[in-house]
């Protein structure tokens, strides 16, 4: 009975997983397809990428020879962007969650209010600011405007709030200063939330498209997502190459996710148990 139940539930789950990952699987198959109609999926023969080929990936390299450069740009942007965003969010959220000072709630509310502003509003102001700072067409200009992430501060604040006061008091008795408490007590306890924020911010930097195109002038500085847009030009986008390019650009995200997965799941459930 138990086995039957298990078989049934697993069949159901496998079916659901296939359903949800369907478009993604289709894209991977298209990336390896050599010839024939990309969009035909009526029968399995059309759907499966046989004979499989790497030629689409080679085509991507040929069409967009700067891809290794784009990849390095993206890694550089992601590294600094994620690191600084985490640092700022965790530092800024700490007093908002754990310290009593006048105007605390007002500051927090004011920060949340900025979330209501449409992205276009920020863009032009950011553009002018970056120009005035003399940072136009630099790597720094790509991640500078998003370093202070209100979402990140909010997430970290919620993580700090649930930590028991006793831990903090104990640290204080042992002679820990405010920064020491933050670094030794709070940070280790909020690791799941940090991992969650890291994944969110990594993915958003990885996929960042609009802003770099607006603020950059020279294509040698483009991140990968922007560079891949060269694959689909005005008149004829080779869907196989586009799929191959998308597959290439997703590999690092999957790697990061797998590494952070354990923390990430914990992060999603954070708050429900503590």
């Amino acid at each position: 009975m138990k086995t039957v139940k298990r078989i049934l539930s697993y069949t159901g789950l496998i079916f659901l997983a296939l359903f949800l990952t369907g478009p993604f699987i289709w894209m991977i198959f298209v990336a390896f397809k050599s010839s024939g109609n990309v969009f035909k999926i009526a029968d399995l023969k059309d759907f499966l990428p046989f004979p499989a080929t790497f030629s689409n990936f080679i085509q991507v390299m040929k069409d967009v020879p700067l891809i290794p450069q784009f990849l390095l740009n993206t890694i550089w942007i992601c590294f600094w962007g994620v690191f600084l965003e985490l640092l700022i969010a965790s530092l800024a959220a700490y007093p908002l969650a754990r310290l009593e000072f006048p105007g605390r709630n007002f500051i927090f509310a004011a920060m949340l209010a900025t979330l209501m502003l449409p992205a276009q509003a920020n863009m032009i102001v950011n553009f002018i600011t970056i120009r005035k700072l003399g940072l136009f067409d630099t790597y720094l200009s790509i991640f500078l405007p998003s370093l202070v992430s209100v979402f990140g501060i909010f997430l970290m604040r919620q993580a700090y709030i649930v930590i028991p006061r006793e831990l903090e008091d104990a640290a204080r008795i042992d002679g820990c200063g405010e920064l020491g408490i933050w670094y030794r007590i709070m940070l280790p306890l909020t690791r799941p939330s940090m991992a969650t924020l890291a994944i969110f911010s990594f993915v958003s930097y990885w996929n960042t498209f609009m802003w770099p195109l607006v603020i950059l002038k020279h294509e040698a500085k483009y991140p990968l997502a922007v560079g891949l847009s060269y694959l689909s030009n005005m008149f004829a986008s080779n869907f196989r190459a586009v799929a191959a390019g998308s597959v290439l650009s997703m590999v690092p995200i999957i790697i990061v996710f797998v590494i952070m997965q354990r923390h990430f799941i914990k992060g999603i459930m954070a708050g429900s148990i503590k």
Partner: protein
């Protein structure tokens, strides 16, 4: 969202003039530096643009060119930010919709004033005026495509239709679509009238000779019996399952994919789309035949136009206009059309025998031959109205209410027309 966008165009144009004092990069040798932007031509047409640049710089040794290529979906944001930030490009590739939006906010150079009559005359009259606002044109037309009917001859044969004769009229399209659906089970036709693309319905009415706007542009006229009858035609097709459910949800993109899967009999689109089919669905490409766009009472064919505009924030407007004229001259346009199934916007280039003779690819040659013969009927049908988002919302509701039969077509259009009148009266058009 677009409302906000528009608000910001207005805002930033004003900022642009305040900020225009700060740092435009100028070439060290005292040369004039012109920056021009194109839409999505890299990397495939890099050699073409670079060859034009080389030619231009040879003729104008005192001008330095910088070329930047941008995907279309970022064009407006980048342009607005750049104008506001004081780093406006000098020449920019737009389409009439974008050009009109910017022209309404006084951001573009008036080309009727800036271009001498002898140069204006070189362009086809119906295309020169494509980006006209309040009687003046704000962009120089570049390449053009006119719509044709592509059809899958395999499906036509399977349905017992004559595969050598495409549909000649909208009635033919309906008849063929009914037969294809009956005989083969797949849909014959999927019109681009999904609510998200409400503009297509306005185009369609205009093609049918149905006025949509009063002369003084203060009153909507699309609640006339003729307009209602046209929309009713689509509603009946939908109700009778002659056009697919996806018509209302996935629109033109959906039709394009369906056609490439071989599951759609006919597709109304520009010939440049053939390049995509050739790459992604070679079997469907080989079966594709082309028929002229069925012209309605107005006798016009909808055209997609790309153009070059010069922002008023440019430092070298005079040189910029000359560059735009150079990029779109007869010789350079003809050269571009030989690379791609596109049409030129100048009279001399359009008269070149190449467009009739073709280049040896039967499907594309046929499409181009049909397309060039329609060129004199080509119109860009953008209305160039302010408050476009709100107007669109009213029309979108009317399409939905009609198609889902929540209201009669007449009632739905009356309601939309009333809203239009209100909006048109409130803003000065």
């Amino acid at each position: 969202m677009e409302k906000v966008l528009k608000l910001f165009i207005a805002l930033l144009i004003s900022t642009a003039f305040i900020l225009s004092g700060c740092g435009q990069s100028s070439a060290p040798s005292g040369k004039i530096k012109l920056e021009f932007w194109t839409i999505s031509l890299k990397p495939e047409h890099t050699d073409y643009i670079e060859s034009l640049m080389a030619k231009y710089q040879k003729e104008n040794p005192d001008i330095e060119l910088e070329w930047i290529d941008i995907p279309i979906n970022v064009m407006m944001q980048k342009l607005m930010a750049s104008i506001a930030g004081g780093v406006s490009p000098d020449v920019v590739n737009l389409n009439p919709e974008y050009a009109l939006l910017l022209a309404q906010n006084n951001a573009l150079v008036n080309m009727d004033e800036a271009v001498p009559a002898k140069d204006r005359e070189k362009y086809l009259d119906n295309l020169w005026n494509a980006a006209s606002f309040e009687g003046s044109n704000y962009a120089i037309p570049w390449y053009v495509t006119t719509q044709v009917v592509m059809y899958n001859s395999n499906l036509f044969s399977a349905a017992g239709l004559d595969a050598d004769k495409g549909p000649k009229s909208w009635d033919d399209i309906e008849k063929d679509a009914v037969i294809i659906k009956q005989k083969t089970g797949v849909y014959g036709f999927m019109p681009a009238i999904d609510p998200a693309n409400f503009g297509k319905l306005l185009d369609d009415w205009q093609c049918q000779g149905i006025p949509v706007l009063s002369k003084d542009r203060k009153q909507a006229l699309f609640n006339s019996p003729a307009a209602a009858a046209r929309l009713q035609w689509y509603v009946d097709l939908y109700k009778n399952d002659i056009i697919p459910r996806e018509t209302m949800t996935s629109g033109y993109q959906g039709a394009v994919e369906m056609y490439q899967r071989g599951n759609l009999g006919m597709l109304v689109s520009g010939p440049q789309f053939l390049l995509k089919i050739k790459l992604n669905a070679p079997d469907v490409y080989n079966a594709t035949r082309v028929a002229p766009y069925p012209r309605g009472k107005a006798g016009i064919v909808p055209a997609a136009i790309m153009n070059f505009a010069v922002p008023r924030a440019s430092r070298h407007k005079e040189e910029a206009v000359k560059l735009a004229l150079f990029l779109t001259n007869d010789e350079n346009q003809l050269q571009f059309c030989k690379r791609l199934p596109l049409l030129p916007s100048t009279k001399k280039a359009a008269a070149d025998p190449f467009f009739i003779e073709g280049k040896g690819d039967p499907v594309q040659d046929e499409a181009i031959r049909i397309s060039i013969m329609q060129l004199k009927h080509a119109r860009n049908l953008s209305l160039g109205l302010k408050n476009w988002v709100d107007l669109g919302k009213a029309l979108k509701d009317a399409i939905e209410n009609s198609m889902y039969q929540r209201k009669t077509v007449q009632a739905a259009l009356d309601e939309a027309a009333e809203k239009w009148d209100e909006i048109l009266a409130s803003g000065d058009q």
